[in-house]
């Protein structure tokens, strides 16, 4: 067998071919692996893939919209898709504000009615500050 190396950095087809032939022989060694090693490798592979899957799920936040569709980092949603999932929330907020305004108006209306009654009634408003009259109203008044 001729020596392969004169210049170690120059390409040498004979050396390349020899390396490939040695590597081909090494392939035999992988076919002859003991069963327990092959099984351990299989388990390691399954565990690694499972671990990777779990990790990716944790990293990807997933929101479920009202229509049941998933909205996550990896999903491709358009503007309207995202807007439609936010709409119920906006509607809820508008409803709450509307109800608040209505209640406020109703309360003001009731207070105004009481004031009107007080001012237009036969009794002077000062009478309501009299403790005796208050006691009189409490026990039933004229009825």
């Amino acid at each position: 067998m001729k020596p392969f190396f004169i210049n170690t950095r120059a390409p040498n087809p004979a050396a390349e071919e020899f390396g490939v032939r040695i590597a081909a022989r090494l392939d035999d060694s992988t076919r002859l692996l003991p069963v327990h090693v092959a099984e351990r490798l299989r388990l390691a592979r399954v565990q690694a893939v499972k671990q990777g899957r779990l990790l990716r799920r944790q990293e990807t936040p997933v929101f479920v919209t009202s229509s049941g569709s998933r909205w996550g980092k990896k999903d491709h949603f358009g503007f309207w898709g995202r807007a439609s999932s936010v709409l119920p929330l906006i509607a809820l907020l508008i409803g709450l504000v509307f109800i608040g305004i209505l209640q406020e108006q109703q309360r003001a209306h009731e207070i105004a009615e009481v004031d009107t009654e007080l001012l237009t009634g036969d009794l002077p408003p000062v009478a309501y500050t009299d403790p005796g009259f208050a006691q009189y109203l409490k026990v039933g008044g004229p009825d």
Binding site: R9, A15, G19, R45
Partner: protein, 188 residues
């Protein structure tokens, strides 16, 4: 991005060679299995989202780093029993004992005669022992270049050295193997 099935198929395709590669370095079955498992975990955890074509290079680099980590841990754990000699430059064959070579499962293959199989297994053991006897960097470069079929640039990238160094390591490894096999009367 590689799908889960593609990732698993990729690992299935490389796991046995990865084990043998680690074994040639650390010479301990359990440690080699741990290194491969660790490498698989790192690939899936950190690079599972990468395209399929990038996985071989990434895996080779992770395996190399995991093996180096193992040597570092061994060095820290036990200063008396270390494999530092693996990192030293050694141009001559050394005094490796063939009796220390890997014991393999020698179940006969159906298509081969018992004699052919025995001869083949014996040659394989010699090759493996000679590869184990190579300096670590030469062995790494040789295995990546010819067994993993990476090109010079990819090997250099995975080993973290220049392309010139890879060529030198490979050339020296091939020369050392050729010389050792010739001495043992083995013609490949």
């Amino acid at each position: 991005m590689a799908s889960e099935q593609e990732l698993e198929a990729f690992l299935k395709g490389v796991e046995k060679r990865a084990f043998k590669r680690s074994y040639y370095h650390v010479r301990n079955e359990e440690s080699a299995l741990d290194i491969v498992q660790d490498s698989m975990m790192k690939l899936c955890e950190h690079y599972g989202h990468k395209p399929l074509e990038e996985l071989p290079m990434l895996f080779q680099r992770i395996l190399t780093n995991s093996t180096l980590d193992w040597f570092r841990r061994q060095k820290t754990k036990n200063a008396l029993f270390s494999n530092l000699s693996d990192f030293e430059s050694r141009d001559e064959g050394g005094d490796f004992d063939i009796l220390e070579s890997l014991l393999l499962n020698t179940n006969p293959e159906q298509i081969e005669s018992a004699q052919d199989h025995a001869q083949r297994a014996q040659i394989l053991r010699v090759i493996e022992s000679e590869i184990q006897g190579l300096p670590a960097r030469q062995r790494e470069a040789f295995l990546m270049r010819y067994w993993e079929e990476l090109d010079v640039a990819e090997t250099a990238s995975a080993m973290g050295c220049s392309q010139g160094s890879v060529k030198t390591h490979c050339s020296r490894a091939v020369a050392a193997l050729a010389k050792a096999l010739k001495i043992r009367g083995i013609c490949i």
